[in-house]
């Protein structure tokens, strides 16, 4: 069966520090991978998505970047965190055309202080 792992679950980082959040998927090949951010009291904002290794599409200009070094690994990074980067970050995967929607990871609560 397919599973998605996201870590860490919570993270407190000072302003200006780097960030690396990792997401891995098991049990499927060539998935589409997504990073979403959910700010307090707001909906889901799509940050990046990837349809294959090394292929990254950015949805909004920001302080963050994403990479996909392996088929089932998706990494969200920042060189210098801002206070506005605080939020709940969710990774998700899907298989195009199957109409099953997304499967989400359990999320990372990032607080920038």
């Amino acid at each position: 069966s397919q599973t998605i792992h996201q870590w860490p679950a919570t993270l407190v980082q000072p302003v200006g520090s780097p960030l690396s959040l990792e997401c891995t998927v098991e049990g499927t090949s060539n998935p589409n991978l997504y990073w979403y951010r959910q700010a307090a009291g707001r909906g889901l904002q799509l940050l990046f998505y990837s349809v294959g290794i090394g292929q990254i599409s950015s949805e909004v200009p920001q302080n963050l970047s994403a990479s996909r070094p392996q088929d089932r690994q998706f990494i969200l990074s920042s060189k210098k965190l801002l206070l506005s980067d605080s939020g709940f970050y969710l990774c998700a995967w899907s298989v195009w055309g199957q109409g099953d929607g997304y499967t989400f990871g359990s999320g990372t609560r990032l607080t920038v202080v």
Binding site: G43, L90, G97, G99, D100, G107
Partner: protein
């Protein structure tokens, strides 16, 4: 671009009362529609989906949603809610002029069930 509107940011309701969470989408061409539920500090879980066929779809925990193409709506209903249904609910759509690679989410509706 595709968009989803959830007009109600919060819906308070008493236990065992019926509830409807509203969702409207923008595209009039072929779409897939979804409802997700999010419990505090957790990821999103798929509640139910409409792909094709019967316009009424049901979940295993008593929720149902009806696809209405003429009104471009996909409202979520439950005839009798429980305390445990307290959560945030997101409507989402894929397809239309956005294609099927991405899901577009509404801003969510917080369902608050009180005794």
């Amino acid at each position: 671009a595709q968009s989803v509107t959830q007009l109600d940011s919060q819906v308070p309701v008493f236990e065992e009362a019926p509830v409807e969470l509203r969702c409207n989408y923008s595209s009039s061409v072929s779409v897939y529609l979804f409802w997700y539920v999010q419990y505090p500090n957790q990821g999103l879980q798929l509640l139910l989906k409409y792909l094709s066929g019967s316009t009424l779809v049901e979940s295993i925990n008593g929720f149902e949603a009806e696809f209405n193409k003429s009104q471009t709506s996909f409202h979520l209903r439950k005839p009798s809610v429980h305390i445990s249904d307290t959560a945030e609910y997101f409507c989402a759509v894929t397809g239309g002029n956005t294609g099927f690679q991405k899901l577009v989410f509404g801003t969510g509706t917080r369902l608050l069930v009180s005794p």
